[in-house]
């Protein structure tokens, strides 16, 4: 592990040099909110925010992504035969991803990179990307990363972690990919200031005011939790709008749709959401998750129980707090997790008795 110091006045110049070898992405303020986008020539990421409104998951899992293409023109020899669309596989770097969002890529990877099947679109993008993280010194009141397997200086999923030292950045190179990026940017000034990282981390963690309780989830019976009495109350105000799933960095569910213009067609992958009734409806009209309560329960059970049991890698949440901040009816995953975590199946029996 190497530390390098980057004088802020050399920051833009370094990124410009790196842009020769990488396609650069970073947070930029749009009309209303910051969002991750491809940086134009000379453009630098903007850090006057805590985090982007939408998570950067779209960098690996675009909201709509063309996968296959075909022609319906029967005069062509290859009509109706599908082919994978050509993709830009040149290296790219994401500058300024927050540690929570970087950790989320590892949780999503469990879904798209399995021993049996690999999603070449997600995994291809992941493998081509270098993640340069920006440590989080001013967490929000809705952030709870430190109790969600993560933290403001968390390093998992990052190739380099950068912290703000006022007039300079201090960067910790974590992987070979990170080293290659530092070389391309010309960031070589070795620093010996590990203590700065330690104190920055301690200070940021001390600023965290919010937490999530998850310690009993793994040991609580799945079907008992599924049948718990609180789901109607939790779902009561839900609009099934899907904001929580679309803003979540770890939500990965998708739809596959065909789109045809004239005789040229594409098959694409689009974000989908367990909040939408059509997500599960059968052609017969039968819907296994027909009610709002069933759909809300699916979202929280997936994140806080099914995922926990299936992968034994903690909860499917990194504590970024986006769903808490953006839910129009204030449904709060911390409150739901507390109900699930403190649920004693015996209590339910006692009530029934």
């Amino acid at each position: 592990m190497t530390l390098v110091k980057i004088d802020k006045k050399n920051w833009a110049e370094g990124l410009k040099a790196a842009a020769d070898a990488y396609r650069l992405y970073g947070p930029v303020k749009g009309k209303d909110y910051h969002q991750f986008k491809a940086l134009e020539k000379g453009e630098t990421p903007e850090f006057d925010m805590v985090n982007t409104r939408l998570s950067p998951k779209a960098l690996l899992f675009p909201q709509s992504e063309e996968m296959l293409e075909y022609s319906l023109d029967e005069s062509r020899e290859d009509h109706h035969i599908m082919k994978a669309v050509a993709r830009d596989n040149t290296p790219r770097a994401v500058i300024g991803i927050r540690p929570c969002d970087a950790k989320s890529t590892l949780l999503v990877k469990l879904n798209f990179d399995t021993p049996e099947v690999k999603d070449p679109y997600w995994l291809g993008a992941y493998q081509n990307t270098t993640f340069i993280g920006m440590a989080c010194d001013a967490p929000l009141s809705t952030c709870f990363c430190t109790t969600a397997g993560c933290g403001p200086y968390h390093e998992e999923g990052l190739d380099m972690l950068v912290m703000d030292r006022g007039d300079a950045y201090l960067a910790k190179i974590l992987t070979d990919k990170g080293k290659a990026f530092a070389d391309a940017a010309g960031w070589k000034a070795a620093a010996d200031d590990q203590a700065a990282f330690e104190s920055g981390k301690a200070a940021a963690e001390a600023r965290m005011v919010s937490s999530i309780k998850t310690d009993n989830l793994a040991d609580t019976d799945l079907l008992e939790l599924h049948g718990a009495p609180f789901w109607d109350d939790i779902a009561f105000a839900c609009l099934n709008c899907g904001t929580c799933t679309f803003s979540c960095p770890t939500c990965w569910c998708f739809d596959i749709q065909d789109e045809v213009h004239g005789k040229a067609g594409v098959r694409m992958k689009n974000w989908d959401s367990c909040m939408f009734p059509i997500f599960t409806v059968h052609t017969t009209g039968h819907n296994p998750r027909d009610t709002k309560t069933q759909r809300v329960r699916q979202r929280f059970m997936h994140k806080l129980k099914y995922f926990v049991d299936k992968y034994e890698a903690g909860i499917m949440c990194v504590g970024c707090g986006r769903c808490v901040r953006q839910c129009p009816v204030n449904i709060d995953i911390r409150r739901v997790s507390e109900l699930m975590n403190s649920f004693k199946p015996a209590d339910a029996c006692a009530v029934q008795g």
Binding site: H80, V117, C253, G265, V281, P288
Partner: protein, 281 residues
């Protein structure tokens, strides 16, 4: 990296209308590219995505059997956008086939055992695949008694009628064909719903006997208590589930029943396994 979303190109080689109301057709496909058939190696009980460019995909159980070579067959009920389009396609048309997907019936566990097959309506497809597989001369000695209870609404709605007649004549498989009702005076098989016919005809359960059940929800609902009464334990009752699917290999998230995914961890489960899920199917 293998692209699991990319279907094998296939040509429709034959279309057979199966049901008197024309709602069911069997499509026989041949692979356009040499080697693809070998890559598509499957076992009875698995399914595949029939993939129509411009329309979409539909997960359908494989009706042909691994012992049948040179083609794959699917019997499709006309129901939604993709299946309606497929019903209007013709021999020679080009489309895609993606798979095989999901698990199969537990053929290793079934070896040396008696097998009871209970099927209803057009859910008989992977059961046909299984019967053809077990009756293959190389495989028949591996199994004990084979009993089949198969019912449809009327004689004209039974699938694979020619094969049913052939199987009736054999002495190494006990066929119990039934229809809900018929006005045909020459009907020489059973009349009645699948559950009571199962109760009358099926062999008793036990350690050495497994039941494979595939049919509409109402049939399954009333067959389960019958099998329990006959002595079938829940881990000896094998079922194939259906749910809305897209990817078919466990990534798109919609077919989950708790932590299991119907497409990848199933579609074949024992009743014992299903009892441990929230049963959201």
């Amino acid at each position: 990296m293998q692209n699991p979303y990319l279907p094998y190109p296939v040509r429709i080689d034959d279309i057979t209308v199966e049901a008197e109301d024309k709602s069911l057709k069997t499509f026989t496909f041949v692979f356009l590219n040499e080697g693809d058939e070998e890559k598509f190696a499957y076992q009875a009980g698995q399914f595949a995505e029939l993939s129509i460019p411009g329309k979409g995909e539909i997960p359908i159980g494989i009706a042909s059997s691994p012992v049948e070579k040179g083609f794959v067959k699917f019997t499709v009920n006309r129901a939604g956008v993709v299946t309606t389009h497929l019903h209007n396609m013709k021999v020679g048309d080009i489309m895609g086939l993606r798979g095989p997907l999901g698990n199969c019936y537990p053929w290793e566990a079934l070896e040396g055992k008696n097998v009871l097959i209970v099927g209803g309506g057009f859910a008989f497809t992977t059961l046909r695949s299984s019967i053809v597989y077990m009756l293959d001369p190389a495989n028949r000695p591996k199994f004990g008694n084979i009993d089949v209870v198969y019912g449809a609404r009327s004689p004209g709605m039974l699938l694979y009628k020619n094969e049913l007649v052939e199987w009736e004549k054999r002495d190494d498989i006990n066929m119990h064909i039934t229809v809900d009702a018929t006005s045909d005076p020459d009907w020489k098989y059973n009349v009645g719903f699948v559950p009571p016919i199962t109760e009358q005809k099926a062999p008793p359960g036990g350690d050495d006997t497994y039941a494979i059940v595939c049919g509409p929800p109402i049939m399954i609902k009333f067959t389960q208590p019958v099998l329990e009464k006959l002595g079938y334990a829940h881990d000896h009752i094998i079922m194939s589930l259906e749910n809305r699917m897209k990817c078919g290999f466990g990534m798109c998230g919609r077919c989950g029943i708790g932590k299991e995914l119907v497409c990848k961890d199933g579609p074949v489960f024992t009743l014992d396994q299903i009892n441990k899920t929230p049963r959201e199917y």
